[in-house]
Symmetry: none
Subunit: 239 residues, 2 copies
DNA sequence: AGGAATTTGTGCGTATGTATC
DNA sequence: AGATACATACGCACAAATTCC
């Protein structure tokens, strides 16, 4: 069997899931355009150095997620949906009319002991805190505060952090986020809301709280996202 | 290759679908009891005279339909569709502290031409409208308005409608909801808000808009759910 | 219109990994 | 620790749908 492409220490995602992730991210990054036809399965199998059946499972997974449409005798196509970017990558915000290319701008990165008001997650007493502005089509629509448990990486490597945090986790920290749990309610924009944000601090906001998991039931990340429903909406796909 | 077991004239269902149908019938006929463990996949493969991979595809299909639960290292089990939370698997509201047993109370059922303000879904000009109150642990936490496209059933059969609409769709209308897409924003409680609802009409609410799908891309249902985040929160699990 | 080439779908059999009992 | 059972993955052959000449 082809050996897994990750270290032997960590339990890797199955190969077909890794490939599905890569395809999904290529779509989000714009490397695969909506409507575009993918290479034949046999070519992709050769490219990824796996058997055709493995590629087929990855593609089937992408279809389930609504990213691809598969047509027998024809090919695999990037879904023409209004919403290609927002579905995967666990980013769930879209413009009110749908769609919007997601971007992020880092405001601050700090490592500190977890404040008492945070819910329990991870095993370390410290965590890395990321604060970001979130954009859709160059419009700032949300604020984000992300707490990554510091147990696996007491200090962050001094590399460029990509716009997709999960991609950064995967490529630089070897942390594979397998699933997440979002909880939505009402809240107020935080006191660190930047001056140039379209809504001032203290105003009402839709609040998304999230736990992200690696492996089975191990919460490794907690985040909060604030947005105003005039500028964005939260979209979830259920199966 | 094993020849298909159906006539040569009609296009046969794939073998794995035939087997899935047989398993489904056995469950519905009561030959397979809820919670029962199926034989090992290798035995079933021998029984049906197919390869293990084919049986696995059939079982996976049954799992998609919610008929089976598959557990690695353990076995395949008939799902308790009536009793388990599976029937509410698309219901995403929980009490603020988590959990809560979901219930529903029907307020009104009407069939009418789709109002202009509805987004596009289904193929018919008419739809069935359900209005319901939603409970968690006997506390009324949300209101629901559901529009089911009337293309498949111009009139609803005069049967009892179970608390789980999706179960009713499946058992009485033969409509299998495969997935759904939720979109969250802020809204106002509707003008038909009952007097005894904890929040009066016109107040701010968290609004969940949902499209439900049969097959892969066919929207057949549109619904709106209003709730107050003091009484409930929306939870989404993402993979 | 029609036949060949292409591409995905179905199915077989087997080996090995991993979770559960 | 061992046995059982599902999960992943390989490679191959042929069917069915589509596309192209």
């Amino acid at each position: 069997m082809t050996k897994p492409s990750t270290s032997l220490i960590h339990a890797a995602l199955p190969r077909y899931r890794q490939i599905a992730e890569q395809i999904a991210r290529q779509i989000e990054a714009g490397h695969l355009v909506v409507g575009q036809k993918l290479p034949p399965e046999r070519d992709m199998a050769a490219q990824y150095e796996v058997a055709v059946g493995t590629i087929r499972k990855a593609l089937a997974h992408c279809e389930e997620l609504g990213l691809l449409t598969r047509r027998q005798g024809s090919g695999n196509y990037v879904t023409d949906a209004e919403r290609s970017g927002a579905l995967y990558s666990f980013f769930r915000l879209e413009l009110p009319d749908g769609g919007g290319l997601p971007r992020a701008e880092m405001l601050a990165i700090d490592t500190m002991t977890k404040p008492g008001h945070l819910p329990a997650f991870g095993g370390a007493p410290t965590a890395h805190r990321f604060r970001r502005k979130r954009y859709l089509d160059d419009r700032c629509v949300a604020l984000e505060e992300i707490w990554l448990d510091a147990s696996t990486h007491p200090a962050l490597p001094a590399t460029e952090i990509s716009e997709s945090l999960y991609l950064y986790y995967r490529d630089c920290l070897d942390i594979w986020i397998t699933h997440a749990e979002d909880s939505l309610s009402l809240g107020q924009f935080p006191d660190w809301t930047p001056q140039d944000f379209p809504v001032p601090a203290g105003e009402n906001a839709c609040l998304v709280e999230r736990f992200s998991y690696v492996e089975h039931r191990q919460k490794i990340e907690y985040s909060r996202t604030w947005f105003d429903s005039r500028f964005a909406r939260y979209v979830a796909r259920l199966t």
